[in-house]
Amino acid sequence: MTDSAFDWMAAANKKAKGKRPEYFDDPEDERMLSILMAVAGEVSVLRERMDTVERLLETKGTISRDDIESYVPDKNAAYERGVMIREYIYRVMRGPHQMVEELKEAEPSLEELSKELREI
Protein backbone atom coordinates (compact mmCIF):
# COMPACT_ATOMS: atom_id res chain seq x y z
CA MET A 1 0.00 0.00 0.00
CA THR A 2 1.12 3.50 -0.72
CA ASP A 3 2.10 5.38 2.39
CA SER A 4 -0.85 7.63 3.18
CA ALA A 5 1.61 10.50 3.66
CA PHE A 6 2.42 10.42 -0.05
CA ASP A 7 -0.08 12.71 -1.75
CA TRP A 8 0.36 11.35 -5.25
CA MET A 9 -2.08 13.68 -6.96
CA ALA A 10 -0.39 16.74 -5.46
CA ALA A 11 2.92 15.31 -6.66
CA ALA A 12 1.45 14.72 -10.12
CA ASN A 13 0.65 18.42 -10.30
CA LYS A 14 4.26 19.51 -9.82
CA LYS A 15 5.37 22.35 -12.07
CA ALA A 16 8.19 21.75 -14.49
CA LYS A 17 11.30 23.79 -13.77
CA GLY A 18 11.73 26.54 -16.37
CA LYS A 19 9.94 29.84 -16.84
CA ARG A 20 6.57 29.36 -18.51
CA PRO A 21 6.11 31.37 -21.73
CA GLU A 22 3.38 34.01 -21.68
CA TYR A 23 0.82 33.66 -24.44
CA PHE A 24 -1.75 36.25 -23.39
CA ASP A 25 -1.56 39.85 -22.22
CA ASP A 26 -3.37 38.97 -19.03
CA PRO A 27 -1.79 36.19 -16.93
CA GLU A 28 -5.27 35.24 -15.70
CA ASP A 29 -6.07 34.12 -19.23
CA GLU A 30 -3.27 31.56 -19.01
CA ARG A 31 -4.91 30.05 -15.94
CA MET A 32 -8.39 30.20 -17.47
CA LEU A 33 -7.30 28.36 -20.59
CA SER A 34 -5.58 25.68 -18.53
CA ILE A 35 -8.81 25.09 -16.59
CA LEU A 36 -10.86 25.00 -19.77
CA MET A 37 -8.51 22.54 -21.38
CA ALA A 38 -8.57 20.31 -18.32
CA VAL A 39 -12.38 20.38 -18.25
CA ALA A 40 -12.52 19.66 -21.96
CA GLY A 41 -10.30 16.64 -21.33
CA GLU A 42 -12.38 15.43 -18.41
CA VAL A 43 -15.64 15.66 -20.37
CA SER A 44 -14.04 13.51 -23.04
CA VAL A 45 -13.12 11.01 -20.33
CA LEU A 46 -16.75 10.91 -19.14
CA ARG A 47 -18.01 10.36 -22.67
CA GLU A 48 -15.58 7.52 -23.20
CA ARG A 49 -16.70 5.96 -19.92
CA MET A 50 -20.36 6.26 -20.95
CA ASP A 51 -19.50 4.64 -24.24
CA THR A 52 -17.83 1.76 -22.42
CA VAL A 53 -20.86 1.29 -20.17
CA GLU A 54 -23.24 1.34 -23.13
CA ARG A 55 -21.19 -1.16 -25.10
CA LEU A 56 -20.92 -3.50 -22.13
CA LEU A 57 -24.63 -3.24 -21.39
CA GLU A 58 -25.41 -4.08 -24.97
CA THR A 59 -23.78 -7.47 -24.57
CA LYS A 60 -24.44 -8.15 -20.87
CA GLY A 61 -27.43 -7.52 -18.66
CA THR A 62 -25.53 -6.16 -15.69
CA ILE A 63 -22.00 -4.94 -15.35
CA SER A 64 -19.51 -4.28 -12.60
CA ARG A 65 -16.82 -1.65 -12.19
CA ASP A 66 -14.27 -4.33 -12.95
CA ASP A 67 -15.91 -4.85 -16.32
CA ILE A 68 -15.47 -1.16 -17.05
CA GLU A 69 -11.87 -1.12 -15.88
CA SER A 70 -10.90 -4.13 -17.96
CA TYR A 71 -12.82 -3.22 -21.09
CA VAL A 72 -10.73 -3.35 -24.27
CA PRO A 73 -12.43 -2.15 -27.47
CA ASP A 74 -12.07 -4.35 -30.54
CA LYS A 75 -10.75 -2.82 -33.74
CA ASN A 76 -14.10 -1.53 -34.87
CA ALA A 77 -15.12 -0.14 -31.49
CA ALA A 78 -11.70 1.50 -31.15
CA TYR A 79 -12.20 3.30 -34.45
CA GLU A 80 -15.74 4.38 -33.52
CA ARG A 81 -14.50 5.74 -30.23
CA GLY A 82 -11.68 7.59 -32.01
CA VAL A 83 -14.27 9.16 -34.30
CA MET A 84 -16.37 10.08 -31.26
CA ILE A 85 -13.43 11.84 -29.58
CA ARG A 86 -12.52 13.57 -32.81
CA GLU A 87 -16.08 14.83 -33.25
CA TYR A 88 -16.08 16.03 -29.67
CA ILE A 89 -12.81 17.92 -30.18
CA TYR A 90 -14.18 19.63 -33.28
CA ARG A 91 -17.28 20.67 -31.35
CA VAL A 92 -15.31 22.15 -28.47
CA MET A 93 -12.69 23.76 -30.69
CA ARG A 94 -15.14 25.50 -33.01
CA GLY A 95 -13.86 28.96 -32.10
CA PRO A 96 -10.16 28.41 -32.78
CA HIS A 97 -11.04 26.27 -35.81
CA GLN A 98 -13.02 29.14 -37.32
CA MET A 99 -10.01 31.40 -36.84
CA VAL A 100 -8.30 29.28 -39.50
CA GLU A 101 -11.02 30.16 -41.98
CA GLU A 102 -10.84 33.81 -41.05
CA LEU A 103 -7.17 33.69 -41.90
CA LYS A 104 -7.89 32.48 -45.40
CA GLU A 105 -9.78 35.55 -46.42
CA ALA A 106 -10.23 39.02 -44.96
CA GLU A 107 -13.98 39.62 -44.79
CA PRO A 108 -15.69 43.02 -44.91
CA SER A 109 -17.47 43.97 -41.69
CA LEU A 110 -21.25 43.82 -41.54
CA GLU A 111 -21.29 47.57 -41.20
CA GLU A 112 -19.58 47.90 -44.54
CA LEU A 113 -21.95 45.38 -46.07
CA SER A 114 -24.93 47.18 -44.64
CA LYS A 115 -23.81 50.37 -46.37
CA GLU A 116 -23.26 48.50 -49.59
CA LEU A 117 -26.70 46.87 -49.57
CA ARG A 118 -28.36 50.21 -49.00
CA GLU A 119 -26.95 51.35 -52.33
CA ILE A 120 -27.79 48.36 -54.51
Binding site: T2, M9, K14, K17, Y23, M37, G82, R86, Y90
Partner: protein, 410 residues
Amino acid sequence: MNDDQKLDVAPPYNAVARHGVSPNPSHDEIARFDFLANFNKFMASALGTGNQLAYDNRVLPKFKKEHGREPKDRFEIRRAMNEDPFHLFWSALKRNSMEMRQQNGRAIVLRQIDELNAKARQFNEGRDTLELNPEIEVPRYQSAVDIHCMPGSYHGEELPGDVSAGANYDCGIFATTGGGLGALTDGGGMALVEWIKKERPGWAPRRVLDIGCTVGHNIVPLALAFPDCEVVAIDTAAPILRYAHARAQSLGATNIQFIQASAEDLSRWDDGTFDWVQTTMFLHETSGKALPSILKEGYRVLADDGLMLHLEQPEYHDGMPLFEQFLRDWDAFNNNEPFWSSMHALDMKDEMISAGFDRDELFETGVRAVVDREIFPENATGEGEDHGRAAFWHAYGAWKNASAIQEAAE
Protein backbone atom coordinates in the same frame (compact mmCIF):
# COMPACT_ATOMS: atom_id res chain seq x y z
CA MET B 1 -15.62 0.48 -44.69
CA ASN B 2 -12.68 1.01 -46.98
CA ASP B 3 -9.61 2.23 -45.07
CA ASP B 4 -9.28 5.27 -47.34
CA GLN B 5 -12.68 6.50 -46.25
CA LYS B 6 -11.75 6.34 -42.62
CA LEU B 7 -11.12 9.47 -40.63
CA ASP B 8 -7.66 9.98 -39.22
CA VAL B 9 -8.03 9.08 -35.55
CA ALA B 10 -5.41 7.98 -33.02
CA PRO B 11 -5.28 4.28 -32.13
CA PRO B 12 -6.67 3.56 -28.65
CA TYR B 13 -4.26 3.62 -25.73
CA ASN B 14 -5.29 -0.01 -25.10
CA ALA B 15 -3.12 -0.92 -28.11
CA VAL B 16 0.02 0.06 -26.21
CA ALA B 17 1.88 -3.12 -25.27
CA ARG B 18 2.54 -3.93 -21.62
CA HIS B 19 5.81 -5.22 -20.25
CA GLY B 20 7.01 -6.24 -16.79
CA VAL B 21 7.12 -2.72 -15.30
CA SER B 22 4.36 -0.99 -17.26
CA PRO B 23 2.14 1.15 -15.10
CA ASN B 24 -1.39 -0.21 -15.05
CA PRO B 25 -3.75 2.49 -16.34
CA SER B 26 -7.36 2.67 -15.17
CA HIS B 27 -10.22 3.09 -17.63
CA ASP B 28 -10.27 6.87 -17.21
CA GLU B 29 -6.51 7.23 -17.36
CA ILE B 30 -6.62 5.49 -20.72
CA ALA B 31 -9.38 7.85 -21.79
CA ARG B 32 -7.25 10.89 -20.84
CA PHE B 33 -4.48 9.74 -23.18
CA ASP B 34 -7.04 8.95 -25.87
CA PHE B 35 -8.24 12.54 -25.65
CA LEU B 36 -4.72 13.99 -25.79
CA ALA B 37 -3.61 11.76 -28.68
CA ASN B 38 -6.57 12.92 -30.76
CA PHE B 39 -6.26 16.50 -29.60
CA ASN B 40 -2.64 16.57 -30.74
CA LYS B 41 -3.69 15.28 -34.14
CA PHE B 42 -6.21 18.11 -34.38
CA MET B 43 -3.51 20.60 -33.36
CA ALA B 44 -1.08 19.37 -36.02
CA SER B 45 -3.60 19.16 -38.86
CA ALA B 46 -6.91 21.06 -38.83
CA LEU B 47 -5.70 23.81 -36.50
CA GLY B 48 -2.01 23.67 -37.36
CA THR B 49 -2.62 24.87 -40.93
CA GLY B 50 -3.58 28.22 -39.43
CA ASN B 51 0.06 28.93 -38.56
CA GLN B 52 1.13 29.01 -42.19
CA LEU B 53 -1.94 31.08 -43.12
CA ALA B 54 -1.28 33.58 -40.35
CA TYR B 55 2.28 33.88 -41.55
CA ASP B 56 1.53 34.25 -45.25
CA ASN B 57 -1.45 36.55 -44.95
CA ARG B 58 -0.68 38.61 -41.90
CA VAL B 59 2.70 38.26 -40.28
CA LEU B 60 4.96 38.28 -43.33
CA PRO B 61 3.26 41.25 -45.08
CA LYS B 62 3.44 43.23 -41.83
CA PHE B 63 7.09 42.30 -41.33
CA LYS B 64 7.98 43.35 -44.87
CA LYS B 65 6.19 46.63 -44.48
CA GLU B 66 8.00 47.42 -41.25
CA HIS B 67 11.46 46.21 -42.26
CA GLY B 68 11.42 46.54 -46.02
CA ARG B 69 12.77 42.99 -46.36
CA GLU B 70 12.05 39.32 -45.64
CA PRO B 71 12.88 37.85 -42.21
CA LYS B 72 16.50 36.74 -42.21
CA ASP B 73 16.24 33.79 -39.84
CA ARG B 74 13.84 31.60 -37.84
CA PHE B 75 14.28 33.80 -34.76
CA GLU B 76 12.89 36.85 -36.52
CA ILE B 77 9.95 34.77 -37.69
CA ARG B 78 9.37 33.54 -34.16
CA ARG B 79 9.36 37.03 -32.73
CA ALA B 80 6.95 38.22 -35.39
CA MET B 81 4.69 35.16 -35.02
CA ASN B 82 4.65 35.63 -31.25
CA GLU B 83 2.76 38.86 -31.89
CA ASP B 84 0.10 37.08 -33.88
CA PRO B 85 -3.11 36.20 -32.00
CA PHE B 86 -3.68 32.95 -33.89
CA HIS B 87 -0.20 31.60 -33.34
CA LEU B 88 -0.24 32.63 -29.70
CA PHE B 89 -3.51 30.86 -29.10
CA TRP B 90 -2.33 27.75 -30.92
CA SER B 91 0.86 27.74 -28.84
CA ALA B 92 -1.08 28.21 -25.61
CA LEU B 93 -3.25 25.20 -26.46
CA LYS B 94 -0.24 23.13 -27.40
CA ARG B 95 1.63 24.05 -24.24
CA ASN B 96 -1.40 22.96 -22.24
CA SER B 97 -1.53 19.63 -23.99
CA MET B 98 2.12 19.06 -23.07
CA GLU B 99 1.48 19.98 -19.44
CA MET B 100 -1.61 17.77 -19.32
CA ARG B 101 0.35 14.86 -20.74
CA GLN B 102 2.85 15.22 -17.89
CA GLN B 103 0.21 15.53 -15.21
CA ASN B 104 -1.76 12.58 -16.61
CA GLY B 105 1.31 10.36 -16.88
CA ARG B 106 2.59 11.27 -13.45
CA ALA B 107 -0.80 10.62 -11.86
CA ILE B 108 -0.95 7.10 -13.33
CA VAL B 109 2.57 6.35 -12.16
CA LEU B 110 2.58 8.01 -8.77
CA ARG B 111 -0.66 6.47 -7.53
CA GLN B 112 0.93 3.02 -7.98
CA ILE B 113 4.54 3.95 -7.35
CA ASP B 114 5.08 1.38 -4.62
CA GLU B 115 3.87 -1.45 -6.85
CA LEU B 116 6.02 -0.20 -9.71
CA ASN B 117 9.10 0.05 -7.52
CA ALA B 118 8.46 -3.47 -6.25
CA LYS B 119 8.09 -4.81 -9.79
CA ALA B 120 11.32 -3.10 -10.84
CA ARG B 121 13.14 -4.52 -7.83
CA GLN B 122 12.22 -8.03 -8.88
CA PHE B 123 14.04 -7.54 -12.15
CA ASN B 124 16.88 -5.42 -10.78
CA GLU B 125 17.99 -6.77 -7.45
CA GLY B 126 21.28 -8.60 -7.51
CA ARG B 127 21.71 -8.31 -11.30
CA ASP B 128 25.12 -7.27 -12.57
CA THR B 129 23.49 -5.92 -15.72
CA LEU B 130 22.48 -2.77 -13.83
CA GLU B 131 25.25 -0.56 -12.51
CA LEU B 132 24.34 2.65 -10.71
CA ASN B 133 27.06 5.14 -9.84
CA PRO B 134 25.70 7.83 -7.54
CA GLU B 135 28.84 9.94 -7.99
CA ILE B 136 27.83 10.67 -11.62
CA GLU B 137 26.79 14.30 -11.76
CA VAL B 138 23.73 15.58 -13.57
CA PRO B 139 25.08 17.86 -16.30
CA ARG B 140 23.98 21.50 -16.31
CA TYR B 141 22.27 21.00 -19.69
CA GLN B 142 20.06 18.43 -17.98
CA SER B 143 19.30 20.42 -14.85
CA ALA B 144 18.85 23.97 -16.18
CA VAL B 145 15.16 23.29 -16.91
CA ASP B 146 12.96 20.21 -16.78
CA ILE B 147 13.27 19.00 -20.36
CA HIS B 148 10.00 18.75 -22.29
CA CYS B 149 8.16 20.10 -19.25
CA MET B 150 8.65 16.80 -17.47
CA PRO B 151 8.65 17.75 -13.77
CA GLY B 152 11.82 16.40 -12.16
CA SER B 153 13.32 15.68 -15.59
CA TYR B 154 14.99 12.28 -16.14
CA HIS B 155 16.94 12.29 -12.89
CA GLY B 156 14.22 13.39 -10.42
CA GLU B 157 12.81 11.01 -7.81
CA GLU B 158 9.51 11.34 -5.98
CA LEU B 159 10.49 8.66 -3.49
CA PRO B 160 14.12 7.66 -2.90
CA GLY B 161 15.28 5.00 -5.33
CA ASP B 162 12.09 5.09 -7.42
CA VAL B 163 11.36 4.51 -11.12
CA SER B 164 8.75 7.26 -11.50
CA ALA B 165 10.67 9.30 -14.10
CA GLY B 166 11.08 6.27 -16.36
CA ALA B 167 7.53 5.05 -15.97
CA ASN B 168 6.08 8.49 -16.69
CA TYR B 169 8.31 8.99 -19.73
CA ASP B 170 7.32 5.56 -21.05
CA CYS B 171 3.57 5.67 -20.53
CA GLY B 172 2.85 9.10 -22.00
CA ILE B 173 4.74 9.11 -25.29
CA PHE B 174 1.63 7.66 -26.89
CA ALA B 175 -0.24 10.88 -26.14
CA THR B 176 2.26 13.18 -27.85
CA THR B 177 2.92 10.97 -30.87
CA GLY B 178 -0.58 9.56 -31.39
CA GLY B 179 0.82 6.05 -31.26
CA GLY B 180 3.13 6.70 -34.21
CA LEU B 181 6.07 5.00 -32.51
CA GLY B 182 4.35 1.65 -32.09
CA ALA B 183 3.15 -0.59 -29.30
CA LEU B 184 6.43 -0.48 -27.35
CA THR B 185 7.50 2.99 -28.54
CA ASP B 186 10.34 1.24 -30.31
CA GLY B 187 9.60 2.10 -33.95
CA GLY B 188 12.98 3.88 -34.25
CA GLY B 189 14.98 0.93 -32.94
CA MET B 190 12.98 -1.51 -35.08
CA ALA B 191 13.79 0.64 -38.10
CA LEU B 192 17.52 0.52 -37.27
CA VAL B 193 17.40 -3.27 -37.14
CA GLU B 194 15.70 -3.39 -40.52
CA TRP B 195 18.17 -0.90 -41.94
CA ILE B 196 21.34 -2.67 -40.78
CA LYS B 197 20.13 -6.06 -42.03
CA LYS B 198 19.81 -4.56 -45.49
CA GLU B 199 22.91 -2.41 -45.28
CA ARG B 200 25.25 -5.16 -44.04
CA PRO B 201 23.55 -8.52 -44.45
CA GLY B 202 25.06 -11.10 -42.15
CA TRP B 203 27.00 -8.59 -40.06
CA ALA B 204 26.73 -9.00 -36.30
CA PRO B 205 28.33 -6.39 -34.05
CA ARG B 206 30.16 -7.85 -31.05
CA ARG B 207 29.71 -4.83 -28.81
CA VAL B 208 27.30 -1.89 -29.08
CA LEU B 209 27.26 1.34 -27.06
CA ASP B 210 23.99 3.25 -26.78
CA ILE B 211 24.50 6.73 -25.36
CA GLY B 212 21.67 8.43 -23.45
CA CYS B 213 19.48 5.34 -23.61
CA THR B 214 16.65 6.65 -21.39
CA VAL B 215 14.23 3.74 -20.87
CA GLY B 216 15.82 1.75 -23.70
CA HIS B 217 13.00 2.13 -26.23
CA ASN B 218 15.35 2.02 -29.19
CA ILE B 219 18.15 -0.22 -27.92
CA VAL B 220 16.01 -3.20 -26.88
CA PRO B 221 15.11 -4.09 -30.52
CA LEU B 222 18.81 -4.08 -31.43
CA ALA B 223 19.73 -6.25 -28.45
CA LEU B 224 16.99 -8.72 -29.37
CA ALA B 225 18.06 -8.78 -33.03
CA PHE B 226 21.68 -9.53 -32.06
CA PRO B 227 21.34 -11.81 -29.03
CA ASP B 228 25.06 -12.65 -28.91
CA CYS B 229 26.05 -9.00 -28.89
CA GLU B 230 27.16 -7.34 -25.65
CA VAL B 231 25.20 -4.12 -25.46
CA VAL B 232 26.17 -1.29 -23.12
CA ALA B 233 23.54 1.40 -22.56
CA ILE B 234 24.54 4.45 -20.58
CA ASP B 235 22.63 7.34 -19.10
CA THR B 236 23.31 9.89 -16.35
CA ALA B 237 19.89 9.44 -14.69
CA ALA B 238 19.46 6.63 -12.16
CA PRO B 239 15.60 6.49 -12.03
CA ILE B 240 15.52 6.08 -15.80
CA LEU B 241 18.09 3.27 -15.67
CA ARG B 242 16.27 1.33 -12.97
CA TYR B 243 13.18 1.36 -15.11
CA ALA B 244 15.08 0.70 -18.36
CA HIS B 245 16.86 -2.33 -16.93
CA ALA B 246 13.69 -3.87 -15.53
CA ARG B 247 11.83 -3.21 -18.77
CA ALA B 248 14.57 -4.75 -20.92
CA GLN B 249 14.85 -7.82 -18.70
CA SER B 250 11.11 -8.36 -18.81
CA LEU B 251 11.20 -8.14 -22.61
CA GLY B 252 13.96 -10.73 -22.77
CA ALA B 253 16.77 -8.35 -23.70
CA THR B 254 19.18 -9.74 -21.10
CA ASN B 255 22.29 -8.86 -23.11
CA ILE B 256 22.15 -5.15 -22.27
CA GLN B 257 24.22 -3.77 -19.45
CA PHE B 258 22.76 -0.51 -18.17
CA ILE B 259 25.38 1.76 -16.64
CA GLN B 260 25.04 5.15 -15.01
CA ALA B 261 27.79 7.08 -16.77
CA SER B 262 28.27 10.31 -18.63
CA ALA B 263 28.92 10.21 -22.36
CA GLU B 264 31.45 13.00 -21.88
CA ASP B 265 33.76 10.63 -20.04
CA LEU B 266 34.00 7.15 -21.53
CA SER B 267 37.47 6.59 -20.05
CA ARG B 268 36.49 3.24 -18.54
CA TRP B 269 36.37 1.83 -22.08
CA ASP B 270 39.53 1.33 -24.14
CA ASP B 271 39.98 2.71 -27.63
CA GLY B 272 38.15 0.64 -30.21
CA THR B 273 35.95 -1.29 -27.76
CA PHE B 274 32.68 -1.09 -29.70
CA ASP B 275 31.59 -2.04 -33.22
CA TRP B 276 28.61 0.28 -33.06
CA VAL B 277 28.21 3.54 -31.13
CA GLN B 278 24.89 5.29 -31.36
CA THR B 279 22.60 7.97 -30.00
CA THR B 280 18.89 8.14 -30.76
CA MET B 281 17.07 11.42 -30.21
CA PHE B 282 19.74 12.37 -27.72
CA LEU B 283 22.17 15.00 -29.03
CA HIS B 284 19.56 17.78 -29.01
CA GLU B 285 19.41 17.51 -25.22
CA THR B 286 23.12 18.19 -24.67
CA SER B 287 25.01 21.47 -25.17
CA GLY B 288 27.39 23.35 -27.44
CA LYS B 289 30.50 22.00 -25.72
CA ALA B 290 29.16 18.61 -24.63
CA LEU B 291 28.07 17.53 -28.12
CA PRO B 292 31.53 17.66 -29.74
CA SER B 293 33.19 16.08 -26.74
CA ILE B 294 30.64 13.24 -26.74
CA LEU B 295 31.25 12.65 -30.46
CA LYS B 296 35.02 12.61 -29.86
CA GLU B 297 34.74 10.10 -27.04
CA GLY B 298 32.37 8.01 -29.13
CA TYR B 299 34.87 8.03 -32.00
CA ARG B 300 37.68 6.94 -29.70
CA VAL B 301 35.83 3.90 -28.30
CA LEU B 302 34.64 2.88 -31.79
CA ALA B 303 36.60 0.06 -33.47
CA ASP B 304 37.90 0.26 -37.04
CA ASP B 305 35.16 -0.65 -39.51
CA GLY B 306 32.69 0.13 -36.73
CA LEU B 307 29.49 2.12 -37.19
CA MET B 308 28.65 5.43 -35.60
CA LEU B 309 25.02 6.44 -35.96
CA HIS B 310 22.96 9.36 -34.67
CA LEU B 311 19.21 9.62 -35.15
CA GLU B 312 17.68 13.09 -34.89
CA GLN B 313 15.08 15.28 -36.47
CA PRO B 314 16.52 16.81 -39.67
CA GLU B 315 18.99 19.68 -39.34
CA TYR B 316 18.10 23.17 -40.51
CA HIS B 317 20.01 23.11 -43.78
CA ASP B 318 20.09 26.09 -46.13
CA GLY B 319 17.39 24.66 -48.36
CA MET B 320 14.87 24.31 -45.53
CA PRO B 321 12.35 27.16 -45.60
CA LEU B 322 12.80 29.53 -42.65
CA PHE B 323 9.15 29.13 -41.75
CA GLU B 324 9.57 25.37 -41.44
CA GLN B 325 12.66 25.94 -39.27
CA PHE B 326 10.59 28.20 -37.07
CA LEU B 327 7.86 25.54 -36.73
CA ARG B 328 10.44 22.89 -35.92
CA ASP B 329 11.81 25.18 -33.24
CA TRP B 330 8.54 25.31 -31.32
CA ASP B 331 9.66 22.83 -28.67
CA ALA B 332 12.87 24.72 -28.04
CA PHE B 333 11.04 27.73 -26.65
CA ASN B 334 7.67 26.29 -25.63
CA ASN B 335 8.49 22.83 -24.38
CA ASN B 336 11.76 23.31 -22.49
CA GLU B 337 14.27 22.09 -25.05
CA PRO B 338 16.94 24.79 -24.66
CA PHE B 339 19.59 23.20 -26.93
CA TRP B 340 17.14 22.04 -29.61
CA SER B 341 17.39 25.12 -31.79
CA SER B 342 21.20 25.38 -31.73
CA MET B 343 21.64 21.65 -32.24
CA HIS B 344 19.47 21.49 -35.32
CA ALA B 345 21.38 24.40 -36.83
CA LEU B 346 24.68 22.48 -36.59
CA ASP B 347 26.11 20.81 -39.63
CA MET B 348 26.33 17.28 -38.28
CA LYS B 349 28.77 16.32 -41.03
CA ASP B 350 31.24 18.94 -39.84
CA GLU B 351 30.73 17.76 -36.27
CA MET B 352 31.48 14.17 -37.23
CA ILE B 353 34.61 15.28 -39.08
CA SER B 354 35.82 17.24 -36.06
CA ALA B 355 35.30 14.08 -34.02
CA GLY B 356 37.76 12.24 -36.27
CA PHE B 357 35.95 10.91 -39.35
CA ASP B 358 36.95 11.53 -42.96
CA ARG B 359 34.31 13.20 -45.06
CA ASP B 360 34.09 10.20 -47.39
CA GLU B 361 33.25 7.90 -44.48
CA LEU B 362 30.05 9.79 -43.72
CA PHE B 363 26.54 8.97 -44.89
CA GLU B 364 23.03 10.22 -44.24
CA THR B 365 19.77 8.40 -44.54
CA GLY B 366 16.11 8.74 -43.57
CA VAL B 367 14.60 6.32 -41.07
CA ARG B 368 10.87 5.80 -40.74
CA ALA B 369 9.45 4.12 -37.64
CA VAL B 370 8.73 0.42 -38.14
CA VAL B 371 5.46 -0.37 -36.37
CA ASP B 372 2.43 -2.58 -36.79
CA ARG B 373 0.52 -0.62 -39.44
CA GLU B 374 -2.63 -2.61 -38.71
CA ILE B 375 -2.96 -0.68 -35.48
CA PHE B 376 -0.55 2.23 -35.55
CA PRO B 377 -0.90 4.81 -38.27
CA GLU B 378 1.97 6.31 -40.15
CA ASN B 379 2.69 9.77 -38.74
CA ALA B 380 2.14 12.51 -41.22
CA THR B 381 5.23 14.20 -42.63
CA GLY B 382 5.07 17.43 -44.57
CA GLU B 383 1.43 18.60 -44.55
CA GLY B 384 -0.09 17.93 -41.12
CA GLU B 385 3.27 16.97 -39.62
CA ASP B 386 3.66 17.45 -35.90
CA HIS B 387 7.08 19.03 -36.24
CA GLY B 388 9.66 17.68 -33.85
CA ARG B 389 7.64 14.57 -33.06
CA ALA B 390 7.15 12.90 -36.44
CA ALA B 391 8.11 9.23 -36.43
CA PHE B 392 10.62 9.87 -39.17
CA TRP B 393 14.22 10.72 -38.47
CA HIS B 394 17.42 11.66 -40.08
CA ALA B 395 20.36 9.32 -39.50
CA TYR B 396 23.87 10.76 -39.49
CA GLY B 397 26.33 7.91 -39.76
CA ALA B 398 29.87 6.85 -40.57
CA TRP B 399 31.88 3.65 -40.85
CA LYS B 400 35.20 4.30 -39.14
CA ASN B 401 38.24 3.88 -41.42
CA ALA B 402 36.18 1.54 -43.58
CA SER B 403 37.79 2.50 -46.86
CA ALA B 404 41.31 2.30 -45.46
CA ILE B 405 40.60 -1.17 -44.17
CA GLN B 406 39.16 -2.30 -47.46
CA GLU B 407 42.15 -0.96 -49.38
CA ALA B 408 44.54 -2.76 -47.04
CA ALA B 409 42.64 -5.99 -47.58
CA GLU B 410 42.79 -5.69 -51.36
